[in-house]
């Protein structure tokens, strides 16, 4: 049905008019996203206390991210959080979704709701609740005490070794539901014939999982990983409410440092540089994940 009448022009209105339709949305986008980002990049080249005249600092703020031990550590902590926010939930979510999908349990909707519930609660509320659980006289220690494991009790969030994993576990608890529900949705679209064929070929439950289920939900895995990795890297509220980066600096993360430097230490330039770097890291990682997923689906 191609109608090539005269000029080799695609049908419909002239292309340029399309930009006019985009304009309103673009203006909003530019005013609330592009301009602030540009401004943040601009600020990151200054040594500025937020009040008086800034001093041009060139790349100093960026150099500090690499050379400053504390900042390097903050990015390191964010990587540890990726394990708790993305890797563990993915493993647990895959297992849980496979079981729920396979077993055709009664009350699937109920389980799905329960597993998804943490996502519905605001992170600040989650953090306050977990702060109580981890308190020296909190639920976790009471539970350990009841089991006769008194030697394991401690002030979890104040312990240099356990504070970061403790914060991470909250992330795991929070993200697992999202990952599970995403994967369940993906698995429900797998045609039954595939499983039938696998079974005819003599595959067991495990082999079936790796040969059929896993490859079919690759797209969902990519989505889940993107969402959870981003959540891990930009963790702020959880750390702010539970530990404020402590004890010492053992749970400080980049997003917390952005806030802390801008509003606590009056180092706005440095805060902006961390923010810009974090944005680039997040962009690179999610780009990488999506490239990986695209390549493997084709």
């Amino acid at each position: 049905m191609t109608q090539r009448s005269g000029a080799a022009r695609p049908p419909g209105e002239p292309r340029r008019v399309a930009y006019l339709y985009l304009l309103p949305a673009f203006l909003v986008y530019a005013a609330f996203l592009l301009y602030p980002i540009g401004r943040a990049v601009h600020l990151s080249f200054f040594d500025w206390d937020g009040l008086s005249l800034g001093r041009w600092a060139g790349l100093d703020n960026y150099v500090a991210i690499v050379t400053d031990e504390g900042l390097r550590a903050a990015f390191g902590h964010a990587l540890v959080l990726i394990v708790f926010y993305a890797v563990v939930p993915l493993a647990v979510g895959l297992a849980l979704a496979a079981i729920l999908h396979h077993a055709k349990v009664r009350g699937l909707g109920f389980f799905r709701t329960v597993v998804f519930l943490p996502q519905v609660i605001a992170m600040v509320v989650v953090a306050v609740a977990w702060r109580r659980i981890y308190a020296p006289d909190g639920t976790l220690n009471a539970l350990l005490g009841a089991l006769g494991l008194d030697s394991l009790t401690r002030g979890w969030l104040g312990d240099h070794t356990f504070a970061l994993p403790s914060v991470g576990v909250v992330g795991t608890w929070f993200e697992t539901g999202l990952v599970t529900v995403l994967l369940l949705a993906g698995m429900s679209r797998i045609p039954g014939e595939l499983y039938e064929a696998a079974r005819l070929d003599g595959a067991g439950a495990v082999k079936e999982f790796f040969a059929v289920t896993l490859p079919s939900v690759r797209g969902e895995i990519a989505v889940a990983l993107t969402l959870t990795v981003i959540a891990a890297l930009r963790t702020f509220d959880l750390v702010y409410v539970t530990t404020r980066g402590g004890p010492g600096d053992s749970t400080s993360v980049p997003s917390y440092e952005v806030y802390h430097r801008a509003f606590g230490l009056s180092q706005v330039g440095s805060a902006a540089a961390i923010g810009v770097t974090l944005t680039i890291v997040i962009f690179a990682i999610s780009f990488g994940i999506n490239r990986f997923a695209d390549r493997s689906t084709t």
Partner: protein, 465 residues
């Protein structure tokens, strides 16, 4: 985009043109430095004593916007009462009160002050990161002319006023222009549970030795000797300050805490103080998991009878009294001997300051004068606060409240108040808080701990000139 020139007169290669454009862009970037739209950093002109008007009733219709942090029980009550009385006395002045918690106020004040219509009166934290930064940026009005006109220097002792003094460039803290006036006093001392002490057969300690003996006895009896919740990083600063001021001379602490050149953290006395704190941890004098316990849960636990002692500030009095009644007692940290001059960490509540851009500085000053007057001090007392001036003149029932009034009256009269250590540099609250968590968890030795503090202090003191 720059349209390419048709004539082709440009002999420069496209590469060099890109470079030039980039360089120009960098120059513009550098030129429009952030903060350049703000008013010139020149110090706001000090109004002369003659230009100041104290007749608030004749100032015409004025609306004052006041930002305070008086949100808790007794604090909120006194503010409400005083504001109502002020509006009744001066019907031409309306108050627009904005009240935020300490943390929220600190986080928002910076942005509010850099705007074009900042509030008229603000409660700004004394330290360098707040009041010091605002002074440096020329955002607060020097109040010396008003102090002269209203007689504030007679009302408040210099030991109180110096916590709100800065040089005009914001570099020197504790000296120079007056930028604010506080309402309440604060002192960090030792709360004790009187019932527990009686049970243990002890009296409130009169010397530091006796205090440590009492801690040991409480531990042996299976009590929690000292309650501490250090999850929020800063509470241990008060404990360390108290221990430190037993050994380190007061003038050295003042030099360190006001961030001036000429002192050092690396001294035997500071090492001894840090070591003592570590020893206390080793002996189990603190509650288990104190680094993971929040500040509020900790004093609430003390209020419920967990813990014999607690090193904390007078601001907890009203809340503790609610739970423990007359069983809660308060003493200044005792010295080496019974007669030793009292020294304690403390100072004032947040001072009320006037913004440089306020169109009604006279009305604002009248307001500050009103809420810090002798009558106001009485209202503060009646609502369970600790007034910063005339403390000895106030009548309070015997018991804990009198303990606190006596303690503050004594220490301020004998000039024994030493500033909070976190005033020292803009980053010191953070440095000290984190370093103390490390020290108390024995992740850092006293020497490493002091080296961390020394680095922050020296870096700042050197660059500050």
């Amino acid at each position: 985009m720059i349209a390419p020139t048709r004539e082709g007169r440009t002999t420069r290669s496209p590469g060099s043109r890109t470079l030039a454009v980039l360089a120009a862009a960098a120059l513009t970037l550098a030129a429009c430095a952030p903060g350049s739209s703000a008013p010139p950093a020149a110090t706001p002109s000090q109004p002369g004593a003659s230009a100041v008007r104290t007749d608030a009733a004749t100032l015409g219709d004025v609306t004052l916007t006041v930002w305070d942090q008086e949100v808790r029980g007794g604090q909120a009550a006194q503010m409400k009462q005083l504001n109502a009385a002020f509006e009744a006395k001066y019907p031409n002045i309306k108050l627009n009160r904005v009240s935020r918690s300490f943390d929220d106020l600190n986080a928002t004040l910076r942005l509010a002050l850099s705007g074009n219509e900042p509030p008229d009166v603000v409660e700004a934290n004394n330290g360098r990161s707040a009041m010091g930064a605002f002074v440096k940026a020329g955002q607060l009005l020097p109040l010396d002319a008003y102090a002269e006109a209203y007689g504030w220097k007679e009302r408040y002792p210099e030991s109180v006023l110096r916590y709100s003094r800065y040089s005009a460039d914001g570099k020197v803290f504790g000296d120079g222009n007056l930028y604010g006036l506080p309402q309440v006093g604060e002192v960090v001392g030792i709360f004790y549970n009187a019932a527990k002490l009686t049970e243990l057969g002890l009296e409130p300690p009169k010397t530091w030795e006796e205090f440590q003996a009492a801690l040991a006895k409480a531990k042996a009896a299976g009590e929690v000797p000292m309650q501490l919740g250090n999850l929020d990083k800063w509470p241990a600063v008060h404990v360390f300050g108290t221990v430190q001021s037993r050994d380190v001379p007061a003038d050295q602490i003042r030099t360190l805490a006001f961030g001036r050149k000429g002192a050092s953290w690396n001294t035997p006395e500071n090492t001894k103080a840090a070591q003592q704190l570590v020893d206390w941890v080793g002996k189990g004098y603190f509650n288990k998991g104190f680094n993971g316990q929040g500040y509020d849960p900790a004093w609430q636990a003390f209020g419920k009878g967990e813990g014999v002692f607690m090193i904390a500030g007078t601001w907890l009095l009203a809340d503790l009294q609610k739970n423990l009644g007359d069983d809660v007692g308060f003493i200044l940290p005792p010295g080496a001997t019974v007669g030793a001059a009292p020294v304690a960490t403390g100072g004032t509540g947040l001072p009320f300051a006037i913004t440089a851009k306020s169109p009604h500085p006279d009305a604002a000053a009248a307001y500050i004068d009103f809420i810090t007057s002798a009558e106001a001090m009485k209202v503060l007392t009646d609502t369970g606060n600790l007034p910063v001036a005339d403390t000895a003149a106030q009548k309070v029932p015997e018991g804990p409240q009198q303990d606190v009034f006596t303690a503050f009256g004594t220490v301020s009269a004998e000039n024994g108040l030493v500033p909070y250590l976190d005033y020292a540099t803009p980053t010191f609250a953070d440095t000290l808080g984190a370093a103390l968590q490390d020290l108390l968890a024995e992740k850092a030795s006293p020497q490493e701990f002091l080296a961390t503090l020394e680095k922050d202090y020296k870096t700042f003191a050197e660059s500050n000139g």
